[in-house]
Symmetry: C2
Subunit: 651 residues, 2 copies
């Protein structure tokens, strides 16, 4: 672990947070918290994730690099380039570097390293004397530096570059980008703060807060943690910085396009937030930063705010797909119990942000409800964001489509493609956690993982066809001298009936399940086998009746997978299909469909347009029997930009 | 009829069109067309309309005048005024004058005339030497005259002033405003046209076309008809005038806020239109102009376009309320079979425009389907636009509300309030038509009307409690020397069972009903009584199954009245109420509720939130029995800005 590389050790390193230092002074909540097993210690070999991760490495990363070249995101670092530049270009390329770095950790690739090194050289060359680094403002107009924190994304770009720097350093041991970003962070630290003479501002698009905590963990330089703390503490304070800087620009603060600072979670101080609002990606990033800071500083006021926000999000604002953000208007939240389907925004980045936030809360609380939401997002609204071939992407992930909405190769604002790439390249980290004498299994997927329990090396080998089958077998290879410990297995919230055996002896779940986890504490021997059977029938899922959009409608879910009807599988207009309550639904695994998926089939009724020529209103349409075939939502629009529906009228 | 006043004769005068001259040379389609009996010849004495018309006269007109004063719409004509001005102020005040003028025709009022005369004096004083008259451009910037026809509403304002001038002249015989507007029209005629040296443009907001036809009828000056013809013919021609003038202003035509000229029905020449599009009020006004021109010039190509547009509107884009225009984005149409309820725009002005257009088509074709739509709009989406006290107004008329959406006293763009005032002040004209030896009854409402049939005076006396009861008794007082003629009674499209008697003898409807009208041709004697019984049970109405928003939903309609649930009448959240197919629905007239309405009552089921604490997804919500009480949609939001729903989930 001498240079902090991922592959220097496959233990105790987490990319999400608390990366190196788990004994930081003042980390008072550490006793309550767990550490994710890093993705470098988790070898996935399942049929669901591995193909996606491979495609991500072999196709997506290459495609994204090409797009960055093509659109000028790399040339943007060349001061001589005359190509279009954009204020958020740095962040997209940074996320690509971060994604590529994670990939390198498990799959070294000299060619990719060379590409990154080239970009890093350009960045280092462009960095200004004082440490400032932003390809847009340096090349377009240096005088506008820090003039519009509300809109200009400067600190946001800095944050993503910091994440990239930490990731590349940890994957390769190369310090150049890390050093560049430390210089930049040092300069930011001298520039922003509550002290006299500093700019008392913060970024309109949060991100730097969580990035600074990562930088702090990678460097142990407390300055970065304190800077993050400043940004978290200052946000939303009065007199409002965004008002002050708008006036300094000669603008009326009331002229802000989004009208109030809810858009960027700065309408009030963060500790007083009660309800999710505004731009969903920004919200997720700052909520992550709040958890990070709460852990570092044992700040209950921040955690209380997170608890309130979590409840509001998950009880009133979460799509069944794990998607968040109901409207494109603000790329974010509307109001409680409002879940429009066709116009759902549910940006891929926001859904990924929810994974980040859930994952952090899960480590802190080890409560299955966080894993449930993380799993819901991962298996549905996150990976719907990328095509099976890894080359096209959704920005928004609606729950219904009239057709004609397909994935794109790239976007003018290309935040989502590299975000999903970095998630997939580091996916293994979401599966397990450890904490003292406990090992936790959050997600079920065939894999082999190593982790430290009681100071010794534990190997867990999962065998499963999850998410298509609910049977999971875990073979335990415990540390030789520390074999008394607890394995906690998640009993997913979607599961109504679970059965557990250890070495083929049934274990009564009654009494050992707490907060969604079954705790098996015992003295383990090499070769012990845990078998978990999670009953996985097709579930008919309903929404809280206050959600007017889904009243009378039902969704099909099996295990963590949410299903949808696509037009391609139906002769009848999917918008005219209703599902009788009595319809029996059967499942069938089809290895040649959509990369291998379990389908749900059954009988339904379709409204006929017979007799409806030349009229819009009339007697009840005739319903005629039809068949339905539902496919996993995450695979939709891989056979053309078809009409699609998750919520079906039930009759 | 010597000075064209309404009250000089109560026959042969129509405010809608063909006002004076029914024998215009070249009117080749006249043989197919009918003439509305003017509102001055129709004395209404029913319980539905009379209270609304009285409130309109005694409260709305006064309120609107006060608002015009308060907001500076009258001061706008004073060049010395320093108050805010707006490009469409002239049109709002013009519509108020028109409304007041119609009211004066039946209810002379010296005080109101004085007010109008005062405004007319200001207008005359402001009129420029060349005839130009626009309070905004004369007072704000004369150099901008005609510089932006696409956006600046100049000819639109001119059109409304022409309508006002004709109405005031016909009501009072006073020519001053008519002369002012003729001068202005003369000047417009010298300015616009296909001839060399003239501006080859037309208005972005149609209206002047139909107004010029009215002016032509009032003055018999064919120049105005030809000018209308030019505007109709030129619209949408290439090279596109809006492109040309945008470039002349130094603007990129592609920068047009609404992206293409569908917004103002100018994307192609009018005769090639196939489908309704763009701003719904503009669409209705130009469609009216197209019918007017088609009648005057016997132009089948214009009528064919109108036929296509009508079919597209009524078969694919019409709300059950008679509202039109699905979205606020363009204040207009979206796409076929798209009928969002909560976000429906259905602007009061657009719905009124649909009445104007239907009424014109009805005269031409005498086909009940036009009367059906006219009636649907009048009894629902038009009068929903004004409160029962006549003092607050809806701009948009959505079909659902979560609450909090109430009527306003006025609007920054106050087109709707005076529009509904002019409609109500002239409502009688929609009830009857005449044509040669035929008298037609389109609407049923207690009234006494005089009209010319076979050159003699026919009096029809309707006795009915319509729309609350389907029984209609018509007493006939025929012209003495021309008593052989036909009375055509509309059998409404909503009616499944009608029975007819003449002098208590049953008349078989079989064979005498054509295109929605029962023709009773005979020699009439004074005191003959026709009795029509229109069965009026509560109907469950469904939408074409391609309309995804209403799939599985039902609306309640009785006679022409569309019903809704308002929160005020329900203990349960109306959004959680479902109506079983088997529920029996009863009706009850309540004279003290909402000005006297028939209520629909019955049993339903409400989804319970019991067991839904702290979760968003779960098992099917429990349904518990509840009662519903439906009120006429047109009366909603008169007891507070309640939640409201027309379409109910059916189970």
């Amino acid at each position: 672990m001498k240079d902090g590389r991922y592959h220097a050790s496959n233990q105790q390193i987490s990319t999400a947070y608390k990366i190196i230092d788990s004994n930081f002074k003042g980390d008072k909540m550490a006793k309550h918290s767990y550490t994710p097993v890093p993705f470098t210690s988790v070898k996935l070999n399942d049929r669901f994730w591995v193909p996606r991760i491979n495609i991500n490495r072999t196709s997506t990363l290459e495609h994204e690099y090409d797009q960055c070249k093509k659109t000028g995101q790399i040339d943007a670092w060349d001061p001589k380039s005359t190509r279009n530049r954009h204020i958020f270009y740095d962040s997209d390329l940074a996320k690509w570097i971060e994604a590529a770095a994670y990939s390198l950790a498990n799959f070294p690739d000299a060619e990719v390293e060379k590409r990154i090194d080239h970009v890093v050289d350009m960045m280092a060359d462009l960095q200004m004397e004082d440490g400032y680094l932003n390809s847009y403002f340096i090349n377009v107009d240096k005088t506008q530096r820090w003039k519009n924190l509300r809109d200009a994304h400067e600190l946001y770009c800095a944050g993503h570059l910091m994440e990239a720097a930490v990731a590349y350093y940890q994957s390769t041991g190369k310090r150049k980008l890390l050093d560049v970003m430390c210089r930049y962070a040092d300069y930011i630290d001298t520039t922003f703060g509550a002290e006299q003479g500093k700019i008392r501002g913060y970024c309109g698009h949060e991100e730097i807060e969580l990035a600074l905590v990562k930088l702090y963990h990678a460097t142990k330089n407390e300055k970065y943690l304190k800077l993050a703390q400043y940004f978290v503490d200052e946000r939303g304070a009065e007199p409002h910085y965004f008002d002050i800087e708008a006036k300094a620009r000669g603008e009326d603060p009331q002229g802000f396009h989004f009208r109030n600072y809810e858009y960027c979670q700065a309408q009030v101080p963060l500790r007083t937030l009660n309800k999710v609002s505004g731009h969903a990606v920004r919200a997720m990033y700052i909520y992550c930063g709040m958890v990070d800071m709460a852990i570092e500083t044992d700040d209950k006021t921040l955690m209380d705010a997170c608890d309130r926000l979590w409840a509001n999000l998950c009880e009133k604002n979460l799509y069944i797909t794990g998607g968040i953000g109901q409207t494109a208007n603000n790329e974010g939240f509307t109001f409680d119990y409002d879940l429009p389907n066709e116009t759902a925004y549910a940006e891929t980045c926001a859904n990924i942000g929810l994974v980040f936030w859930s994952h952090r809360l899960l480590q802190l609380y080890c409560d299955g409800r966080y894993a449930d939401v993380m799993e819901r997002a991962l298996y549905n609204g996150v990976i719907s964001g990328v095509s099976l071939d890894g080359k096209t992407f959704f920005y928004g992930n609606p729950l219904e489509s009239r057709g004609g909405y397909g994935r794109s190769e790239w976007f003018g604002c290309a935040c989502c493609p590299p975000n999903i790439a970095r998630l997939l390249a580091s996916l293994g980290q979401y599966v397990y956690s450890v904490g003292g004498s406990e090992a936790m299994v959050h997600l079920y997927c065939q894999s082999e993982a190593q982790m430290t329990v009681n100071g010794g090396l534990l190997t867990l080998k999962q065998k499963t066809e999850y998410p298509w089958d609910g049977r999971v077998q875990i073979t335990v290879d415990p540390p030789k001298d520390a074999s008394e410990f607890t394995i906690k297995l998640r009993i997913p919230g979607w599961c109504r009936k679970a059965a557990l055996r250890v070495n083929d002896k049934p274990v009564d779940l009654e009494g050992i399940v707490d907060k969604g986890y079954a705790s098996i504490g015992r003295t383990w021997s090499a070769g012990d086998v845990i078998t978990l059977e999670l009953a996985m029938p097709v579930e008919r899922v309903y929404t809280h009746p206050t959600v007017r959009q889904n009243f009378g409608y039902v969704a099909l879910q099996r295990g963590p997978i949410v299903y949808c009807l696509e037009q391609a599988d139906h002769a009848e207009d999917v918008w005219r299909i209703a599902l009788p309550k009595t319809s029996e639904l059967t499942t069938r695994f089809e290895k040649d469909v959509l990369g291998g998926v379990t389908l749900i089939e059954g009988s339904a009724m379709a409204a006929s347009t017979e007799g409806w020529d030349h009229k819009l209103y009339g007697d009840e349409p005739k319903m005629t029997p039809c068949k339905i075939k539902a496919v996993p939502y995450c695979t939709w629009a891989n056979r053309g930009a078809d009409a699609m529906k998750i919520w079906l009228r039930e009759m």
